[in-house]
């Protein structure tokens, strides 16, 4: 199959990748760019393990063709914090045991990151609704919700202190 050129920015870095028209964005990220943070859980856009941020929106990378990412600005879990450090959300997941096996975690955190941009002061219900596209088989969601609520509180108090 003829390959097509895809130009995209991932975590602030510009890339040009050759992709088959049928290739999914998640495979481009994981196989061509070696970004294995976003996982493949179901490959049918149910589970959200492959969640990334594309042009300011949460997107399941297994629902998007690589070619559709032409010109897109993408952030993956790898781009959310400096290597070796944890951002507020990541630290909060660690602190409140928002993960067990960790497979869904990159998707959870990437989605939660966007959710808190969309709504910096969510209620528990907002969090549950906003995270509904991400499945977790370990935690029963209680601690994930707790982690995100705690991160929101911390981010807001940091913002207040800065003002």
């Amino acid at each position: 199959m003829t390959k097509m050129k895809v130009n995209l920015t991932v975590n602030g870095q510009a890339h040009e990748v050759e992709a088959e028209p049928r290739q999914l964005l998640i495979h481009l990220l994981r196989e061509d760019l070696n970004l294995t943070g976003p996982h493949i859980g179901c490959e049918t856009s149910h589970c959200g393990a492959c969640t990334i941020e594309m042009d300011g929106k949460s997107v399941k990378a297994c629902t998007v063709f690589a070619a559709q990412a032409q010109g897109a600005d993408i952030t993956t879990i790898e781009g959310l914090s400096e290597p070796g450090t944890l951002n507020v959300l990541q630290e909060s997941f660690r602190e409140h045991h928002g993960l067990q096996c960790g497979y869904c975690t990159p998707g959870m955190i990437t989605r939660a990151h966007r959710l808190l941009q969309e709504n910096p002061t969510p209620t528990e219900e907002d969090v549950r609704f906003g995270m509904a596209g991400n499945l977790c088989r370990c935690t029963g969601y209680q601690n994930i919700v707790k982690s995100i609520m705690a991160a929101a509180t911390e981010l807001n108090s940091a913002k207040e202190a800065a003002e």
Partner: protein
Amino acid sequence: MNDLSPDRAERSAKLKGLGHSRKRVEDQRFTQGRGNYIDDMKMPDMLFGRWQLYRRHENA
């Protein structure tokens, strides 16, 4: 947590490490997307394959 339970930090200080949850070491890499699961590994000349195995008898 009910109203009777003491402040978390206060309790931790008193217990000196006993009886309360600890942060997991592995969460550091899991939360950064560096879990390195089998599907994340890449070896030179690696092939992907899938086997479908069926039992000849149920519950055998």
